[in-house]
Symmetry: C2
């Protein structure tokens, strides 16, 4: 289990590692054995790397892939794209990092749109042809593209445009989980949100004025819908698109008191914005010299690699933080080819010397850094629509305008391979059934986000299913202590809180193709359904599993499940902390915990994590409980009992 | 109306013009006035070109775009892709050529995946900002991406990767039609198919053996379904995928007599293949030194820029031509990112020194050239799944696995901007209505193709609508003389036989957005419907139009049409030659022509074209007829009367 750095030639100046936090792991500069089989070359095309790959190895990663899962045999072009409708590699959050079931992962430290050919055959020399598949006829349409060749000439090919050198980080490990964890430590470790960030999050209609926002806040409390964060969409600003970053005097004439009233009602406030800066923004003139040569929506594109641009931007946004704002939604930083051609060209030039391609790869990450500077030492769990390499430490969750529920679940499964968090956010729904299915998924995701930015009332009120939705959000709130521990392990060990089953169970063949279930922490498997499905097959790894809600016991293997609920399974031997749900987390909230014992828990340990405060300077205490010894001296947790779930 | 060549730096060696036929137009080397406003630069990224563009100008072209039409404000990345599911520029047949309503078109002579930013704003200097749109709020979801800025800083940006120089061909003209026609003449002029190539084309089930193929041929004749061309799919070969190019001894034990029997029944025979060469192919060993360094489906990728590779390949395929084969379907030459990652990488190397990116841009065109060499001086109308720049002269029609009927109609509308022919081929259908709608479209397209490669019986027999389909194919056959004249104008004047209305009517605002109707020759407007639609709006240019079938009169403007048929309109003053339909075209077929006079035809001239033979050496005679004088001395045409359609 090691991280090796392999340098070829002279890397470009603008690479992700230059802007990333300090690694939280050792990096070996000695060369791994595999390096001997790598071939590097350069041409005006850029850098080309080839390496042999076991043709049976499975390959995962490349960032937030919404359309693919196991990438062996495919080509992935790592390009930011706000509308990633095909399995080409395009995504909101591309990452030039992959992991394999062959004992290694590879991170390519580039801000270029690299292409990965995940297993192709080299031409044999004369007389070396295999000729093993004579007399085959492709006789069905589906067969044509399913052909997979594999031989000792199978190679993995990576192409990095323009660059004439590159650093690779070759990461070895026994499991995908260990490789991914090391990648996350190389990124500085996973982010550590405040507890309130793990609660429920509701974004209001973009057209609301302050009275309507406050009315919504009160309605949420009146209906006892758990909610920790309230989000305002573009309408808070005097001009969008592009952005002025100042309150609209018509809709928000009393912004300061409105913010206070929202916070007093127990909400944290999150403001929408993007970085394209309108001429009416107070920072416009100051930003001109630190912006790129093309406008987007008539707005400047600040060069966030420059400390000057970051300071101008962060200083202004800090005035919003000082009013009481706890987080931001950083929209539109995922350059798009498709949605009308907004965003800057790849050939744009920035004052730092960077070009548009490089900035597209870095934009979301640097934007998140800039906003983190505005937040100072306040922890958050915010939103961003693009992230890239080495981004695990940023407390920003990805989201998308694509709205296919199955694609969104694919995102949950994939994001954890690449140091990313993703929310399958809920917007509108076809009907109550669709809404409930979508909320089931989002509750078991890194961020329980409802983005009602074009809905004047809460979608569950529209569909008459408020009671069912409240109950789902209460499940979320009951898991906050468990989630907080999951994130602590992400922060300290790099372990993704939500991840594909193959991360932990790669030895089991079914896990390698399992793309519609995921691990939610170490102990839970979640297998969502999408409307109008009423049933599905669920595969569980070897061993004993228990229905999270009922305690019904399952053996590892495939099960057909019929349910209106969401299938969630807890690993046998888990002592799971389940809290009495609160509506929102206050700084002094003390969670009343029931320890649910799934299966035989006589040797089980339940870990709870307590932070000293909500800043980035907080210290953490890990509390270990057992069935027998579960008293705590914590102000945060109070164990009220043990419940046997078997 | 001129074609100017603008050279910047030193162009790459591998460019489309190097492999194209001699231009059939003059090329001016003096610089057009617009060149003074172009800015060129180079960097390791490649060549960057900017030029001012009227922000109101409309932009069309870029090859076979199936998802977009008017490209102003969008980005188009010109990349071959067999599965072009979004409006990003990806297509089977990308062409770095666009036309504008600003009086010019621009062809970029590159085999690179160029990117075109069709109108973006440059950043102003301090104090120059417009500030014209203060106090705007984007308040609806749909508005967000619809924002269009436009100012005197609007520029068109073109980026060509890797290259350090480029030739541009700047084409001026009063109309889009005149600009596109000159582009086609720059390509050597449009192709000239034999008359039989314009008839109906049926491709058989890929699993058929020779008995089944012959049974299908006889069934087609028995049902009197017009059919000129019969196509065999992969099953004729002993190995696919990749290809052996030899008859399968099991399914086609008597290939020679089978071919003869098919031809004797009046069919021309077309064989499916792709260029990836299997180890069992007789030409495999000979091709190894002339092939790229990666395999595709375990097959060699011949380097068709090399005369040696072309000769080896063409010599073998010529043996098939000598058996009686009249055409080929050249499949899978459109590199794909999406459908499983087959095809060679962009960084593949070929013995000529060319790389994979360049070859992807040239592959279909060079493959078509190679097959044309195998065909010798026989004219054909064949099929190919990729073409690129300057390809108008190749008698190969594009097709696709995508199967959305509306996308297919978009293809018909767009292909004519870029020197391409496209068939919205018919495969299966949901029901009889869907089948009829699809056949209506394909009959009014460059190639009336039914690709039943996975259907054991004719789709109209499956859906019980043989009579309706026969009647549609008879309409096609009745238009062969008209089609032949359309193609003659393509061949001699570069005028696309099928094209968007904006080509001829750009002064009318509605034409600029009209993306679901098209001109079928100079005289007809076709406005297809797709199932389950029963009605649609049709826009007609100013003037008088007549229903093709009934003669009902329409004024220019918008009309709501309810019909089970296909709306086809003939321009007032057209003397249209309509033939008594034959089942197939023989070398000595003499068409019995009725001259349909739509509207006032006292000054109308009907042009018919007669060829001396079916070779590429043929001479052509243009016969001009009027209402009064319509006797011909032609063995090909006999006018039997004039019919007033008003």
């Amino acid at each position: 289990m090691s991280v090796y750095k392999i340098r070829y030639g002279t890397p470009e100046e603008v690479v992700p590692s230059r802007f990333a936090p300090a690694p939280a792991c050792d990096i070996l500069t000695e060369q791994p054995a595999a390096a001997a089989d790598m071939r590097f070359s350069t041409s005006p095309r850029g850098v080309k790397i080839t390496m042999p790959i076991d043709p049976a190895a499975c390959i995962y990663g490349f960032g937030l892939q919404l359309k693919g899962f196991q990438h062996r045999g495919t080509k992935k072009h790592i390009r930011p794209n706000a509308d990633p409708v095909s399995n080409s590699g395009d995504t909101h959050a591309p990452v030039p990092f992959f992991v394999t079931t062959a004992g290694f992962g590879l991170y390519v430290d580039t801000a270029r749109y690299a292409t990965f050919y995940c297993g192709k055959e080299l031409r044999p020399e004369k007389g070396q042809e295999d000729g093993t598949d004579a007399n085959r006829l492709v006789s069905a349409f589906e067969d044509i593209y399913a052909i997979r060749e594999g031989s000792d000439r199978t190679i993995l090919t990576i192409e990095i445009p323009i660059a004439q050198g590159v650093d690779l980080y070759y990461i070895t490990g026994e499991t995908i989980l260990s490789i991914v964890s090391q990648y996350n430590l190389l990124s500085g470790g996973g982010c550590m949100p405040p507890m309130w960030g793990l609660g429920c999050f509701y974004r209001c209609d973009m057209k609301f004025n302050e009275e309507q926002v406050l009315a919504m806040a009160h309605r949420i409390r009146e209906l006892c819908i758990p909610c920790d964060i309230l989000g305002l969409e573009p309408g808070w600003q005097s001009h969008t698109y592009s952005c002025s970053y100042v309150w609209d005097e018509g809709r928000f004439a009393n912004a300061a008191s409105t913010v206070k009233e929202i916070c007093d009602a127990g909400f944290h406030l999150n403001l929408w914005e993007h970085a394209f800066t309108h001429p009416t923004a107070p920072i416009y003139d100051a930003l001109i010299p630190y912006s790129g040569d093309y406008l987007v929506w008539n707005g400047l594109v600040p060069d966030f690699t420059l400390p000057e641009a970051r300071k101008i931007f962060a200083d202004h946004q800090r005035t919003l933080v000082e009013m009481g704002v706890s987080g931001f939604k950083l929209d539109e930083c995922d350059g798009s080819d498709f949605t009308g051609g907004w965003t800057f060209p790849n050939c744009a030039l920035f004052p730092s010397g960077m070009d548009g391609e490089q900035y597209h790869s870095l934009f979301g990450t640097l934007y998140a850094q800039t906003i983190s500077e505005a937040l100072g030492n306040r922890r958050t769990l915010s939103e961003v629509r693009n992230l890239g390499s080495l981004a695990a430490s940023y407390p920003f969750v990805l989201y998308s305008d694509l709205y296919g529920h199955k694609d969104f679940i694919t995102g949950v499964v994939n994001a954890g391979f690449s140091g990313l968090l993703w929310s399958p956010e809920v917007r509108h729904a076809e009907n109550a059934e669709d809404l409930i299915r979508r909320v089931q998924s989002v509750v078991f995701s890194p961020q329980a986000l409802v983005n009602a930015f074009y809905l004047s009332e809460m979608p569950w009120e529209m569909h008459g299913c408020t009671d069912e939705i409240r109950e789902l959000f209460r499940v979320r709130m009951s898991l906050i202590p468990y989630l907080f521990t999951m994130f602590y392990d992400y922060h300290t060990q790099g372990k993704p809180p939500v991840r594909a089953l193959v991360c932990d169970y790669e030895k089991e063949a079914e896990a390698r193709e399992c793309k519609d279930e995921y691990l939610f922490g170490d102990a839970m498997v979640v297998a969502p359904l999408t409307a109008p499905e009423k049933e599905r097959d669920v595969w569980l790894p070897q061993g004993e599993w228990f229905d999270f809600f009922t305690g019904k016991r399952y053996e590892g293997g495939k099960h057909h499940i019929v349910t209106d609920g969401i299938p969630v399974f807890v690993k046998g031997g888990t002592l799971l902390p389940v809290a009495a749900p609160v509506e929102y987390v206050k700084p002094d909230t003390c969670f009343a915990i029931t320890l649910r014992a799934y299966g035989d828990c006589k040797n089980a340990v339940c870990r709870l994590v307590e932070d000293s405060d909500e800043t980035t300077d907080a210290t953490y205490r890990v509390i270990e409980l057992t069935e027998q010894a579960h008293e705590t001296s914590s102000a945060r947790y109070r164990v009220i009992g043990v419940e046997e779930m078997k």
